[in-house]
């Protein structure tokens, strides 16, 4: 199997630390006037997105360009995909054009893992179904570590539609490897009990107050209406019981930060006041996304 990045679960702690350290090197660049390196000059990266995405696709494109690589983005609609070509055939065609890596987002869990068994080109998973979103977890860790010296012992609450969240799974795998304590919280229909077996140090609760109590980090998840295949909860009640409001923050540690992978739905999973709260680091996450993806691209291709 070629060396890509399929998920956090397979990564070692040292491997993650190396990416995070390298991402830190790239951080100052983001605010310089000249933002371009030539580390990956002459390299070609294909972004293949089978699902709508603005921030992740743009972030990968910018990361590639800041490293001097060429990047081509393909979306599923308006390509051969909509003409009925199978995933394997599409990828074989792209691989024949000899890109140095394929960044892929797909609606099916495991689609990049399946392809990695059949393709010579390294694949970077930019989110697969309800499975993993490894670069999101890496940028979240980078963002936490910009404010805390280490992850070990931190209490991290992840709140929302855990069942359908690839962000939650990748974060659980990453945080657990570093000894953080993770509390997953959501309505029981979106919180299968087997989540407790994902990794060591995971506990579950259906009570948002219990989740937030003494938390160092509060990670809110988007309510993924497009992944709700049935009425898993009464939507009209969601914000009342699982939306994050300012008063909840009194329960957390005084310096707790609020995170969200975006795009945010003000008034659905968090109140507008929380989104604009001084310890909300949502835009820092976006900025770190580029630095982390530069580190990942450099590791995979460089």
């Amino acid at each position: 199997m070629p060396a890509g990045l399929l998920g956090i679960e397979e990564l070692s702690r040292a491997g993650i630390e190396a990416i995070l350290a390298r991402a830190k090197d790239f951080q100052p660049m983001q605010s310089q006037t000249v933002k371009k390196l030539d580390t990956l000059r002459g390299k070609m990266i294909v972004n293949l997105f089978y699902e709508a995405s603005t921030r992740t696709r743009t972030s990968f494109e910018i990361a590639a360009k800041r490293l001097g690589a060429d990047a081509v983005s393909i979306t599923a609609s308006g390509s051969s995909v909509s003409k009925g070509e199978s995933l394997v055939d599409t990828l074989n065609t792209l691989a024949a054009m000899r890109p140095d890596a394929i960044v892929m987002r797909h609606w099916a869990s495991g689609a990049p893992h399946f392809l990695a068994r059949h393709l010579p080109t390294p694949i970077i998973n930019a989110g697969d179904g309800t499975h993993e979103h490894p670069t999101q977890a890496l940028l979240d860790a980078r963002t936490i570590l910009d404010r805390a010296s280490h992850l070990e012992g931190l209490r991290v609450a992840i709140i929302g539609d855990i069942a359908h969240s690839r962000v939650a799974r990748s974060n659980v795998f990453l945080l657990s490897k570093f000894g953080a304590r993770i509390v997953l919280c959501g309505p029981a229909s979106l919180l299968p009990v087997e989540l407790a077996q994902l990794a060591p140090g995971v506990e579950l609760t259906t009570d948002i107050r219990e989740a937030i109590r003494d938390a160092d980090v509060i990670m809110m998840l988007r309510v993924q209406l497009e992944r709700q295949h049935e009425a898993s909860f009464p939507a009209s009640e969601y914000f009342r019981f699982y939306g994050l409001r300012l008063e909840h923050l009194d329960l957390a540690k005084p310096d707790a930060i609020v995170m969200h992978p975006g795009p945010i739905n003000r008034g659905r999973e968090l109140s507008s006041e929380v989104a604009d709260f001084q310890r909300s680091v949502i835009l820092n996450q976006v900025e770190n996304g580029i630095a982390v993806r530069m580190a990942v691209l450099e590791k995979v291709i460089g």
Partner: protein, 427 residues
């Protein structure tokens, strides 16, 4: 067709035989089981050191003809059956068109007569088009050769329709075979709902999807007095409920597939569609319950649910791949490995599960080496070492999780109606 099978250990549970003897078949029928038999025109097969058993019956296969001949035909499926030691197979009705009429049943019988190397017995659909609404031509299909009815793969969700189907099946003396899955509970699921599905972000099929329908059907079987058989049982609760119903004296039975006693969801390779089937590979506890059911006799038959799919159909995103794996050629070897070599079952009990068990449900007049019975014989070894290469399969499809596996013991030769239809290379 005449053949004498010499010096094998003859195990025929139906006649309580277990001794070294010759089996003589004359003109397609068993003429005798005794030492030193011979017949002037009979072919001779030396079975020294091997087990000689009544021909195995697989009561649950998909031969895909008519309609899906790119995945399997009656001929290719029957060759795979022969190579697995099966002399009789029952073909499920989810063909295209669905086998819900005398025409399709007769077509399958005729195609099998011309092309199959083993006996093929069609199973008719319970409802027209297996749509779950209107009963199909059950009596006519029986006259044309159907040996049971089932809407396999598309379980009858409407309890009232199922009740009526059971009543009709009972009038015609046919067993009714149900693939137990509450389609509302399983909707969208791609594997067993458990730790692995949650880890991989795949939607789950809870064990309860099977249990709920088994419970309903057992109550309906009690109401109607029908002979009722649970296909590919896979959960602890379902096994317990069938056991309870049998103790109450209901005419109910169930089968298990080799993959459900050999594998659990913890054996799956992530996102590998060779492990995708319905019911899904369940938890370790469910797998153990199925094995316990085989040992206790609650599960009275081993059936493969041989389900060929063309390679391109299985080379997709996991959730897009169709359900099902092929299994005819690996069934006996898996049963030996998991049930006999582990000391859980005697060879006699194993042979029962492939012969007397399905025979008692289907009433084909087979599954024994008694004098005058059809001359179907399965010859196998308990210690032959061999490796399964799916690319050498007689099936037209390659969807097996057991490719490359080395087994101890397996089929050596297969005799149908006194004719040697398959023998292992070098045997």
């Amino acid at each position: 067709m005449s053949i004498v099978i010499k010096n094998g250990r003859v195990i025929d549970p139906a006649s309580q035989t277990d001794r070294v003897a010759d089996v003589l078949i004359v003109d397609g029928l068993v003429a005798g089981v005794a030492p030193n038999l011979s017949s002037p025109h009979a072919e001779v097969f030396d079975a020294t050191g091997m087990i000689v058993a009544p021909g195995f019956i697989d009561m649950h296969v998909h031969l895909r003809e008519p309609g899906f001949e790119h995945a399997e035909t009656i001929e290719s499926g029957s060759r795979a059956a022969a190579a697995g030691g099966f002399t009789s197979v029952c073909s499920m009705p989810n063909t295209k068109p669905v086998n819900d009429s005398v025409t399709v049943t007769s077509y399958i019988v005729e195609r099998a007569r011309r092309n199959a190397v083993v006996n093929v017995f069609p199973i008719g659909a319970i409802t027209k088009g297996s749509a779950g609404e209107e009963l199909s031509a059950i009596g006519g299909m029986k006259e044309a050769g159907a040996v049971a009815i089932s809407d396999d793969g598309l379980p009858v969700m409407n309890a009232r329709v199922m009740r009526r189907a059971m009543e009709f099946a009972r009038s015609y003396g046919l067993p009714i075979i149900q693939h137990c899955e509450d389609l509302n509970l399983s909707a969208g699921g791609d594997m067993h709902e458990g730790a692995a599905s949650v880890r991989w972000g795949l939607r789950g099929i809870p064990s309860a999807a099977e249990d709920v329908m088994v419970a309903r059907d057992l109550l309906l079987a009690q109401l109607t007095g029908a002979r009722y058989h649970v296909a590919h049982i896979s959960t602890r609760n379902a096994v317990a409920m069938v056991e309870y119903a049998r103790r109450k004296g209901l005419a109910v039975s169930c089968e298990a597939t080799p993959h459900h006693f050999a594998l659990s969801d913890s054996d799956m390779a992530a996102y590998d569609s060779s492990y995708k089937m319905k019911p899904p590979l369940r938890s370790v506890d469910d797998r153990e319950a199925v094995t316990e059911g085989l040992v206790a006799g609650t599960v009275s038959a081993i059936a493969t649910d041989h389900a060929p799919h063309a390679g391109s159909e299985k080379m997709q995103e996991f959730e897009r791949c169709p359900f099902g794996i092929i299994g005819l050629e690996t069934a006996l070897a898996l049963a030996l490995e998991h049930l006999v070599h582990t000391g859980k079952l005697t060879l006699t009990r194993l042979v029962e599960l492939f012969t007397v068990g399905p025979e008692s449900v289907l009433r084909l007049g087979r599954g024994t080496l008694g004098t005058g019975a059809p001359g179907d014989v399965t010859i196998f070894s308990t210690d032959l070492s061999w490796t399964y290469d799916v690319n050498q399969s007689f099936s037209r499809s390659r969807n097996s999780p057991f490719d490359g596996r080395t087994f101890r013991g397996g089929p050596v030769a297969t005799v149908v109606g006194g004719k040697l239809v398959w023998r292992r290379d070098g045997a």
